[in-house]
Amino acid sequence: MEYFLTDEQKMIIELAHKIAVEKIAPVTEKYDESGEFPWDIVKVMSDADLFGLYIPEAYGGMGGGVMELVIAVEELSRICGGISLSLAATALGTFPILLFGTEEQKKKYLPPLAKGTKLAAFGLTEANAGSDASGIETTAKKDGDYYILNGTKQWITNGGEADTYTIIAMTDKKKGARGATAFILEKGMPGFSFGKKENKMGIRASATRELVFSDCKVHKNQILGREGMGFIVAMKTLDQSRPGVAAQALGIAQGAFDKAIEYARQRVQFGKPIISFQAVSHMLADMATQTEAARALVYECSRLIDSGAKDVSKLSAMAKVFASDVAMKVTIDAVQVFGGYGYMKEYPVEKMMRDAKITQIYEGTNQIQRNVIAQELIKEQASKK
């Protein structure tokens, strides 16, 4: 399909493709096995300017938007949906600063993130606050010009590896959602440490850790937006970042389809390549159709966000839900096309299936995304009367 990409966007895809094929492909198995953080690949992506894609030039970025980030994440995820996450999760941790940071905060934190010499992370989830973010138990108690943070954030992508963290804590529990506040934290601050690194089903090249705050003293200058704006910061951030997850899912789906069709042409049974059997070719036709539809939705949503549109929640949730469901289905089918070989770790598709699953869960489960979509639909209907 023709998506009318600019020359610069085509260059981004060409470059991300080169990195994925030449640098990432040879090490995906190694990192999937070991679960180590792929700093060598992060360096390659940083040297190639990929970390600055969506950050304004004034802060050392390339001046693009969500679309530029999305096409890069998609291309990298075709080869490894785990390694590409170092970029996508850094964007998730950077968006709050881009959207709500003061000039001073932007000047301080964005340049190294744009260069990729530092990574970022976003901390909202806790043990008892997943889909229900109002259950947050991490507190930030005011003490003069400072806040004292206590609590634990769970399953934080890039945790421990990132230097810059945007986290949400309760400054006034009584006020409920209006009592949450967003803070920028730095690795190494006294009272800020990391818990255990999780052993995951998929995206194993990505670091997932607890953030532990015990009497962590943070200056009020580290607040993003204002005290009490924490949930708005979180929701607006997720609206911007969902296309990134959707792009990761889209890339995984495309990568699995690429492998499946290549295999279906080579694998001979009953004297013919299996692609010549309708049972297989129709599976491939569906996989290609679903992937292309996901791409159209993800690109459209990214362009809407970049146009400066205010209300992007619905489309952003649609893109995330659709692309991640497609990724799950397409990767399962890819394993089926490979048959017994697909189940073996020696072949690439079982990893893609494991990697795909998380995209239906994190940054808002697909059930929560459907709630978001439904709420927007109800709002739209109500405003018609």
Binding site: E8, M11, L15, K18, E22, K23, A48, D49, L50, M62
Partner: protein, 261 residues
């Protein structure tokens, strides 16, 4: 430190076919790449520039589409590029190519170091680098696997030998040709690619170089290609199977049969 890197655009290795009619390389529809050994030369030049400052100029001789190869080098981090392109250069052998490139370098005039890949993957002669040095009357070291030290007027490098290596000191300006052990080339950066897209690649003709017509192209090439052919595939050997003793018996019988013993 001004560095000139000589590169060649060659057909992508995996796709090479030989025409049965003309016995020459089929170049139509074949993807072109920078000669892989030259990519190491570009990388080394950029590394030296990053360390001691200066400028990296890419020089190539070839048809107009070779500008693409020069732009790829700029995307990696080279500063500028010049293409020597003229119908009069067609049919150059290694001697004429060396002469033509040397005339280009003379026109660039300000240079401390020239770096070439050790050889091109299509011709495989490894003669052009040293040929350029000879034409310019400069010292050179071929098969460099490491630049140990480089400063104003001085370079110390390691030349790879079949066994071990030699450490060679040389005054600058000079030329080196590099082997793939010297570094790991970087990928282009997005900023580099954008700069390359806008970059103007100067094209110099035979006239611009004041090249001696008798020294360039087919006329200037002492090498005469009489015939190019693909050697016949080597037939598979004969396998003698069985127990050791049995094998020995069979082998002796076979050698007698062939009247070798």
């Amino acid at each position: 430190m001004n560095i000139v890197v000589c590169i060649k655009q060659v057909p992508g290795t995996t796709d090479v076919k030989i025409s049965e009619k003309t016995n020459t390389l089929v170049r139509e529809g074949v993807e072109s790449i920078i000669n892989p050994f030259d990519v190491y030369a570009i990388e080394e030049a950029i590394r030296i520039k990053e360390k001691v400052g200066g400028k990296v100029t890419i020089l190539s001789m070839g048809p107009p589409q070779a500008k693409e190869a020069i732009k790829e080098a700029i995307a990696m981090g080279a500063d500028e590029g010049i293409l020597l392109s003229d119908r009069a250069f067609a049919g150059s052998d290694t001697w004429a190519t060396g002469y033509t490139l040397s005339m280009g370098i003379k026109k660039i005039s300000s240079f401390d170091l020239i770096i070439c890949g050790k050889q091109a993957i299509d011709g495989d002669t490894a003669q052009v680098g040293p040929g350029v040095a000879e034409a310019l009357g400069l010292p050179f070291v071929a098969y460099v696997r490491k630049v140990e030290e480089i400063k104003e007027g001085y370079i110390r490098c390691e030349r790879m030998m079949e066994e071990g290596y030699e450490v060679i000191e040389m005054s600058l300006p000079a030329l080196i040709t590099v082997v793939k052990e010297i570094n790991e080339p970087r990928l282009p950066s997005l900023k580099g690619m954008m700069r390359a897209k806008k970059a103007e690649i100067a094209t110099w003709t035979a006239q611009d170089l004041s090249a001696e017509p008798a020294n360039i192209g087919l006329t200037g090439s002492p090498t005469q290609v009489v015939k190019i052919f693909s050697p016949p595939a080597r037939p598979g050997g004969e396998m003698i199977l069985g127990e050791i003793g049995e094998q020995a018996e069979k082998l002796v019988a076979r050698l007698r049969e062939l009247k070798i013993v």
